[in-house]
């Protein structure tokens, strides 16, 4: 792959949490190093409790690493950062705001005019194919549409990188497929740099360029798998490719899931 500038770099990052008793510490992730290059879609998979979400909080600047460095466009992350967009399993739409005002939310901390804010929000809704629901309230939308609205809100701030923390895991199987395709299309067409955190192995395979496998706590990256499949913008095409199955089998083996089930 062509070597492009790295947008996100984690260099030997360790995060320890102090237990409620104040003495014992819990190491969530240990010496994690990873890199996401411009326009790349990287997926992180691992068992539950391996510190996937800790990585997200660190990159978003909501939490500080105990050791190591985090660089965003070569600048150290010191706190909440307007160039990071993140999305969770919950859509986090504000129920009292119309969809368009929800999309504007991330822009309200910035010094831009009301008119421009609205214009950008409407543009993002268009990109996420939700323009007809700008004036609706969240409760009037389906779960999949709400997640798309959340993506529009995330993209509206024009982030250097988008962090997706299991954004599809609360959806039913079919909605999930449709939404994965919708997200992949939007992300590929705008060449958005993305870090996806997921426990769904197939999702990692069909959506990403590269998969990082994490161990159980304390989370460490134990394997890096480049996904050499076409159609990154169309997960539905990838899902039926025979080689996608091979990648999933490989991941199953790396995570020792067969042994655990036995």
């Amino acid at each position: 792959m062509l070597k492009t500038a790295s947008v996100l770099e984690l260099i030997g990052v360790t995060k320890r949490f102090t237990a409620p008793d104040g003495v014992s510490a819990l190491t969530a992730i240990e010496r994690v190093s990873l890199e996401v290059r411009a326009g790349e879609f990287v997926a992180v998979v691992g068992p539950s409790g391996c510190g996937k979400s800790t990585i997200l909080n660190l990159v978003a600047g909501l939490d500080r690493p105990s050791e190591g460095r985090i660089l965003l466009n070569s600048i150290p992350v010191e706190g909440p950062n307007p160039t990071v967009g993140f999305m969770l399993q919950k859509d986090l739409l504000l129920p009292w705001r119309k969809i368009v005002h929800n999309v504007e939310f991330g822009l309200e901390a910035r010094a831009i005019s009301r008119a421009e804010r609205r214009e950008r929000a409407l543009r993002e809704l268009q990109r996420c194919r939700l323009q007809d629901f700008a004036e609706s309230y969240p409760y009037q939308l389906s779960g999949g549409m709400r997640q798309r609205a959340a993506l529009a809100r995330t993209l509206a701030i024009e982030p250097a990188i988008v962090l997706l923390d299991e954004p599809f895991s609360a959806l039913d199987a079919q909605t999930k497929l449709i939404l994965q395709k919708s997200f992949a299309r939007t992300i590929a067409s705008s060449a958005i740099t993305t870090l996806l955190i997921t426990h769904d192995l197939m999702e990692a395979v069909i959506m990403s360029d590269r998969i990082l496998v994490m161990s159980e706590r304390p989370g460490q990256i134990i394997e890096e798998i480049p996904v050499d499949l076409p159609d990154r913008d169309d997960p539905m095409a990838r899902i039926s490719a025979a080689r996608a199955r091979e990648y999933v089998d490989h991941l199953l083996a790396s995570l020792h899931l067969q042994e655990k089930a036995a």
């Binding site: 978003a60 909440p80 950062n81 307007p82 986090l92 504000l94 939310f105 309200e108 901390a109 409760y139």
Partner: protein, 298 residues
């Protein structure tokens, strides 16, 4: 419970109460079915037949009140009949300056409700913003919350005299706590992820407060206001019972002194109506403020 349902129910009782003697249903009871408006479930009657049923029950109740006590030999100074109450009502309007008393009670109840709500909500938000102050004050708040506020009424009379102030202060005090507690509770339970989202967007503490915490607390605030609306009437009534020479609560003690049972009954009915109107106003405001919550979930 759906706000509009309650409004509808209150309106229903209001139409029922064209004759001021009609027994008004206590609005705060959660006895109202929680179904969304069109209830297709089997076994549930249509809204019209429910309305007719309620009206029929009310008429039956009034008829029983009118004819049963005399038939059983209960004298009218123990249980006055409905027509006695209506006659006494007319006399109260003409001879006792009833409207002055009603206006006084309504004014103090409303003013106490508004001031108590504002103070309660304001302190709730302040305490919600500062974990330290909240923890320092929480045992005292709990103590005051448990203390029977209406018992302070005689104290306020001794301090403030036989005028409108003690009544107002009791009302404020009674309304204050449920609203404070509701707002504080909602501030403590705002979704952490929403706050983190706002933080990730580099929002300031005040922006988080105004854009997330205040709107997120609205359902709890509205629930507190509903409780406060019913308590306001209790507060003003106790204030008027204990001291002063105006208001419906005063008419109760005055009527008692004259062994005028009908006057006491009439004052109680009017106080209930004041409470219902106050509650209906709050319910209407709530329906507007919380319009974004789908009906069935409210």
């Amino acid at each position: 419970m759906s706000a509009s349902e309650v409004t509808a129910a209150v309106e229903r009782t209001n139409t029922l109460a064209a004759e001021p003697v009609a027994r008004a249903a206590p609005p705060a009871q959660p006895a109202m079915p929680d179904h969304p408006a069109p209830a297709p479930a089997a076994g549930l009657a249509s809204p019209t037949s429910i309305l007719l049923g309620s009206l029929g029950f009310g008429i039956l109740f009034l008829l029983a009140w009118q004819f049963l006590p005399p038939a059983l030999g209960v004298p009218s100074y123990i249980i006055p009949t409905v027509t006695d109450l209506a006659r006494e009502f007319g006399r109260m309007v003409q001879r006792e300056n009833l409207m002055v008393h009603v206006v006084s009670t309504v004014t103090i109840a409303s003013a106490g409700f508004v001031i108590g709500s504002l103070l309660g909500a304001a302190l709730g938000y302040v305490l919600g913003m500062s974990v330290f102050i909240e923890k320092v004050l929480s045992p005292y708040i709990l103590g005051l919350q448990i203390a029977p506020k209406v018992a302070f009424a005689p104290l306020f009379i001794m301090w403030l005299g036989y005028n409108a102030w003690p009544k107002l202060v009791v009302t404020i005090l009674v309304v204050f706590f449920p609203i404070l507690v509701n707002v504080l509770q909602s501030m403590k339970t705002v979704d952490r992820d929403l706050i983190n989202l706002a933080r990730a967007y580099s929002m300031s503490r005040m922006q988080i407060f105004w854009k997330i915490e205040v709107p997120a607390s609205m359902p709890a605030l509205m629930a507190g206001l509903r409780i406060g609306a019913t308590l306001a009437v209790i507060g003003v009534t106790v204030g008027e019972l204990v001291g002063g020479n105006t208001g419906l609560g005063y008419l109760i003690t005055f009527g008692e002194g004259q062994a005028n049972t009908a006057m006491v009954f009439n004052a109680i009915v009017l106080l209930t109506l004041v409470g219902i109107v106050l509650y209906a106003v709050v319910a209407a405001i709530e329906a507007r403020v919380l319009h974004y919550i789908p009906r069935a979930m409210r």
